[in-house]
Amino acid sequence: MMFFLEVLIGGLMAGVMYSLVALGFVLIFKASGVFNFAQGAMVLFAGLFFVGFMELGVPLLLSLLLTAAVMVLLAGVIERLVLRHLVNQEGIILFMATIGVSFFLDGFGQTIWGSNVRQLDVGIPTDPILLFDGDILIQSFDLYAALVAGVLLAILVVFQKTRIGRALRAVADDHQAAQSVGIPLNVIWVIVWSIAGLVALVAGVMWGSKLGVQPAIVSLALKALPVLILGGFTSVPGAIVGGLIIGAGEKLAEVYIGPLFGGGIENWFAYVLALGFLLIRPQGLFGERIIERV
């Protein structure tokens, strides 16, 4: 029983990390209907710049600010060079365009900073914590990650109530109606992509501290996709809950079902889970119902 709890908690904590990436996807999808495949690459990009600034001897806070500035700049560039030209295109075209953006960012970040694994230490303690007289072991790092995700979620929920947040939701609802009441579409898109970039920065710092900043982060971040399917593409809480379910599910499956198949099922379990889920409830747990009109 204790072992089960330990695996469960470990899985939930790993799920938090997926949620951090998934949050960025949801924000962009909600506000612009673009399914941003590049979110994983943005996580790596932010992580690379952050660790790069740190290694140049820039203090922690300053490099955080500098990287944030880079991500905002990136959002502006993406809007100017990519999105602006693809207004009114089909979702699938925009999706493929973000695959291109993803590859570009992946290559660009590594061209500047190299592709070695870089250790990142921002002072988050990593010592294990024992619960129930040492029966359950959790990493304190994971607790901090959960804390960060919680704070991020709170900020995002509060942000939705602000003036800009309301404008974002208006744009998500109906581009044309939002524009006709005077909401500048292009500015809103830059804001959305900036926020997604900042979320990517947070995710990059957390992933980087856990695994080191390395190109493999991009493919790990792909796990955020099944999270989204589970949670629903349009729900911020859904991203968190979906992440927890996927994280816990794949760890439990690896420990309890994995040995039957010779292990290693962690790599695909999340996707197959999402696949099964799609057949039953395509809009996800919290997503808006998909209504199609001709």
């Binding site: 699938i92 291109g100 570009f104 592709s115 999402a274």
Partner: protein, 354 residues
């Protein structure tokens, strides 16, 4: 000047429905095929075969398969690499376990097995579409290579998991040298491309395109979405499976099954985006372009006096691919194939601007 159709009249439906309606096109294509069958073997070196031409043939067939699914039927798939793997592994098993089986039968059966697997993973397309489906095909992409590694029977319990293609032999013709392999692959690809061209011009192809353009409207005019989508998955996977089998038997020789990873899927997707979504010719142009670009990037900068490390070149490759994808989607969503068409139209009225 020479590319002109004035005075050419189509007097029968047959002439109107020909693949190449203009005699100049027919002559050009005949010359091109003659070049491919006679000219290339006369001039190409072994290096050229193994580094460019043979992988080009295999991957363009895979791109053709993906184009049927994504370009014609509008169902985005990120599982091409895994389906190529299914084709390769099943072809290897057939050839290994039934040694006397004709190689063509092996390839066809491998294609059919892949078609079945593809249809299975295409089932979610009944309920979902677009990027939802892309995530569903990712499940195939991660699940299948794992299966190849873990299910020892598939690789005959080889401890390293490497599968090595047997000697190719067709009706007593032992296919050994790169040139013979090239001719063998060329024939298969040419046949399948012809079949695909005719398929997309006929009823199934039109159904796929109707589904792509607007699935609900297509359903209302009497196209059964299930039949159309699943047949697209089946035909596409058949092509991809044969491409995978060719990739192993003709190009790689031996491989680890988990080499059929997600990068291969992206590579084929890029081929059809750059080459042209919904175009048979585009699949070939795209494959050629994507294969040539890395060679270009490794060869040309040193000639100009820049020395790039291999790591840098691979990063640059990523950047160039990414930028090109965005560029093509914005400027010319129909890719290189459309550029070719525009060139032909310009040529038709050249040198007069009317």
């Amino acid at each position: 000047m020479f590319y002109r159709e004035s005075g050419q009249f189509k007097t029968s439906y047959r002439a109107d429905q020909a693949i190449f309606t203009i005699p100049q096109d027919r002559i050009f294509f005949a010359l091109f095929m003659l070049m491919a069958y006679v000219g290339v073997p006369l001039i190409a070196s072994d290096y050229l075969y193994t580094a460019l031409i043979i992988p080009f043939l295999c991957l363009s067939l895979a791109a053709l398969g993906l184009n049927i699914l994504t370009g014609y039927c509008g169902q985005l798939s990120l599982g091409t690499g895994a389906f190529m793997g299914v084709g390769a592994v099943s072809a290897w098993n057939l050839a290994y376990r039934i040694p006397d089986l004709n190689i063509l039968v092996v390839f066809i059966l491998a294609g059919l097995i892949t078609a079945a697997v593809g249809m299975f993973f295409g089932l979610p397309s009944m309920r979902i579409k677009g990027f939802y489906l892309a995530v569903a095909t990712l499940a195939a992409q991660f699940f299948l290579p794992w299966l190849f590694v873990k299910w020892g029977w598939l690789t005959n319990h080889n401890s390293s998991g490497v599968i090595t293609a047997p000697q190719l032999e067709l009706f007593g013709w032992v296919i050994n040298t790169p040139m013979e392999k090239y001719l063998f692959a060329l024939s298969i690809v040419a046949l399948l491309a012809l079949a695909a061209k005719n398929l997309v011009r006929s009823n199934p192809g039109r159904q796929w395109m109707a589904i792509r353009d607007m699935d609900i409207a297509a359903e209302i005019i009497g196209i059964r979405p299930m039949v159309a989508k699943l047949s697209a998955f089946a035909v596409s996977s058949f092509y991809v499976g044969v491409a995978g089998a060719l990739y192993l038997f003709v190009y790689l020789g031996s491989t680890e099954p988990d080499g059929f990873n997600i990068n291969l899927s992206f590579q084929t997707l890029f081929m059809i985006i750059i080459g042209g979504l919904g175009s048979i010719l585009g699949s070939f142009l795209g494959a050629f372009f994507i294969l040539l670009l890395p060679i270009f990037l490794t060869r040309v900068p040193p000639m100009l006096g820049f020395e790039f490390s291999t790591a840098l070149v691979s990063h640059l490759e990523f950047m160039v691919f990414g930028a090109l994808i965005v560029f093509f989607l914005i400027v010319e969503p129909h890719g290189l194939a459309r550029l070719w068409q525009i060139a032909k139209e310009k040529l038709r009225i050249w040198p007069f601007p009317y």
